[in-house]
Amino acid sequence: MSDLEAWRAKAAAWCESMVPTFGKAARKGLSVEDDLALGRRYQKAKFDAGFAGINWPTDLGGQGLGHIEKISFEAEEMKHGFPNVYFGISLGMPVPVLMQFGPDRDFVKERVLKALQGEEIWCQLFSEPSGGTDLAGLRTRAETDGNGWKINGQKVWTSWAQYSDYGVIVVRTDPTVAKHKGLTYFWVDMKAPGVTVRPIKLAGGDSHVNEVFFDDVKISDDHRMSPVGGGFAVALATLMIERYVATDSAGFGPHLDLFVDLAKEVRLNGRPAIEDGRIRQQIARNYAMRAGLDSINVRARRMMEAGMTPGPEGSLNKLVAVRSRQKLSELALDLQGAGGFAFDEHASPKDDWASSWINAPTGRIAGGSDETLLNTIAERILGLPQDHRPDKGIPFNQIPA
């Protein structure tokens, strides 16, 4: 057994042992608040067992291992439906960026340790009503205020802001220069006066994203994590940190074998749906697509093991998998006919077709829409030209609204 196989076996055994306390059955029927409390205990257990901050430095409470160990653990962890969703963003982007760019190292260490143990949660305040994809077009502004800064404006789609203790934020500090040159990156205390969080109820019924309003929120200059005007580079660095995450060729929806089981159960025209050519074609096409992603991901893992950088084809995962999950979920409802109406708002998108279907659009939009991903593939991988951008090089305050 290689070191990595041993690591994965250890991860699998630990995850298995956590199922009675933190698994799907233990979470069933809990309110969000109770589930979050359970999640905090799970995160602490993970930390104590040496599975938190796997690829983070040991002096900050991490394990000092590689991306590959982290991904291996995540692949095991995601089999069980543990309450870890509240910490995904926090430990995925804001806290790593704090580790990298936080100016006060003692403060950084204290925050990182609390976040790793589930005591504190961080959010990422990037998107705004005026634009998500067009990040550099943001309007929330920070003006100098004595020795510090004063923030006014609004962020939106901020995951878990209602439970967050801190956030990282990009704001405009100079509207007289080109849009991406006038931004600065800070961290903020989400409990500070002037910060208002308002949850947004999403189509599927849950409210994990929020609007966040800033009204004269005062922060000192030691909150600054980039040079003044240098915030865009740190924002990009934030988005690059999470390249090495576990992927799922089912698009974080139900796996294909559940669809095959359904097709064997229900009848179409008096015979099992699995005998119907239309259904068979969909199964076969989905299998071929998902097998392709699986193979891409295995190869990416092998490249990491060999010390190489995985190829750009990994960028296909989210685009291809979530889109197909959406269609397959529609088809699963079709298959059930009138039986497909039943809806449980608290069901998991990973094993419930209606839940998977209603939440699929979020997956195709959040973290880069399909269209944005296609642009990225076209421009970065294939060398095709950028879209026409009328705001290019123009001072922000002169861009026609």
């Binding site: 294909l256 074998d257 095959v260 097709a263 064997k264 699995i274 068979r280 074609q281 199964i283 076969a284 096409r285 299998y287 071929a288 697509m289 097998a291 392709g292 992603l293 193979s295 891409i296 295995v298 190869r299 092998r302 490249m303 060999a306 084809e313 296909l316 685009l319 291809v320 269209e371 296609l374 642009n375 593939i377 076209a378 421009e379 991988i381 294939l382 060398g383 095709l384 030209p385 950028q386 879209d387 026409h388």
Partner: protein, 361 residues
């Protein structure tokens, strides 16, 4: 588990690409479309010289004892350059059938020639639209074969064929003296012919369920080689489309700056990479229990990639794309001929779903 190509395998890819790009040109391929009974001689000469015909065959019979991974890499390059003969796949299928199911005597008689490329092999399993018929139309009585094996790729020049005959039986047939009728097709260099057997002597390789399983295995081996070829063709088209989109201008900018164009090409990238990943995986599973499933995924995604790339690449070119001269129709034609050889997507979808549903015979 999938694999990463090692240095030797990468060298095979580079060298075969160099050899083919130097020897194959669209100007020589275009006239073949309007010629019956001819293939692109320089391609086949290159394949023999470079030892590609011997690549996946056993050393004892003049082979190089490499496998599907290496042959797949060659096929990928052959797909990129639209190489003008089907024999790399058809001879490989026939040779594998002889290697896996033949007697020592049969191996001694045929494999050396197939490995050197002097002998050309073909596979004749299909009956009409069915690539693996339960009731083959060619009948075997004693050791004599009678009936017509329709539309055999490479059949016009094959010296030996592996035929699925009544029984079912998988048989080996020396094609010397067998009547062949060339089929005028949209891709004539595939050398497709009806083979007419009349009391033709045949050696049995397998019978009953074993014959059917053997035929499916051979078909799957060929399908993986073909899938690499399709992926190569799709990759070439994606690059041709990209190159055109960055140079051709309309409304004052390269057409590749329009999302209707750039997204179409990005989607092709996705199809090509999924097909490539499935091909690599399938080639690495040759002797494993899940080989047929892996082969099927490769086959389905590669067919989709090549057909879509052919469609979209022509569309992105606009008017110039439909001219004879530019030759994109060579890829359109090849995409379709490769989609039909080794069984259409309908066939492979059924093979796959039978396995996923646990119903395979």
């Amino acid at each position: 588990m999938s694999i990463l190509y090692d240095e030797g395998q990468q060298a095979i890819a580079t060298e075969s690409r160099r050899a083919l790009e130097a020897r194959v040109s669209k100007d020589e391929l275009l006239p073949l479309l309007q010629t019956q009974g001819a293939y692109h001689q320089p391609f086949w000469a290159t394949a023999k010289e470079q030892g590609w015909t011997a690549l996946a065959l056993p050393e004892a019979y003049g082979g190089l004892a490499l496998g599907l991974i290496e042959l797949g890499l060659i096929a990928h390059q052959a797909g990129r350059t639209l190489s003008g003969a089907p024999f790399l796949t058809s001879s490989f299928g026939a040779a594998k059938a002889i290697e896996l199911y033949g007697s020592d005597e049969q191996k001694a008689r045929w494999l050396l020639g197939l490995a050197s490329g002097e002998t050309i092999g073909a596979i004749a399993f299909a009956a009409g639209p069915d690539p693996l018929p339960a009731e083959p139309m060619v009948t075997l009585a004693g050791d004599r074969l009678t009936g017509v094996a329709g539309a055999v790729s490479g059949g016009l020049f094959a010296d030996v064929a592996v035929v699925l005959a009544s029984g079912p039986s998988l048989v080996l047939v020396d094609l010397t003296g067998v009547d062949r009728t060339a089929i005028d097709s949209f891709d004539n260099s595939r050398c497709i012919a009806d083979l007419s057997f009349a009391d033709t002597p045949a050696d049995t390789l397998a019978t009953g369920d074993a014959a059917r399983a053997a035929a499916l295995h051979i078909l799957a081996l060929q399908a993986v080689v073909t899938a690499h070829e399709q992926t190569g063709g799709a990759e070439a088209l994606m690059e041709i489309a990209r190159d055109y989109a960055v140079t051709r201008k309309a409304f004052g900018q390269p057409i590749g700056a329009f999302q209707s164009i750039k997204h179409r090409i990005a989607e092709l990238y996705g199809l090509v990479e999924l097909a490539r990943a499935n091909c690599i995986h399938a080639a690495s599973r040759e002797d494993q229990a899940d080989f047929i499933t892996a082969a099927t995924a490769a086959r389905l995604s590669a067919t989709e990639a090549y057909d879509t790339a052919a469609r979209d690449c022509v569309q992105i070119h606009g008017g110039i794309g439909v001219t004879w001269e530019i030759g994109l129709h060579l890829h359109m034609r090849r995409a379709r001929s490769l989609a039909l050889e080794q069984g259409s997507s309908f066939f492979w979808e059924d093979v796959l779903v039978d396995r996923l549903a646990g119903d395979e015979a």
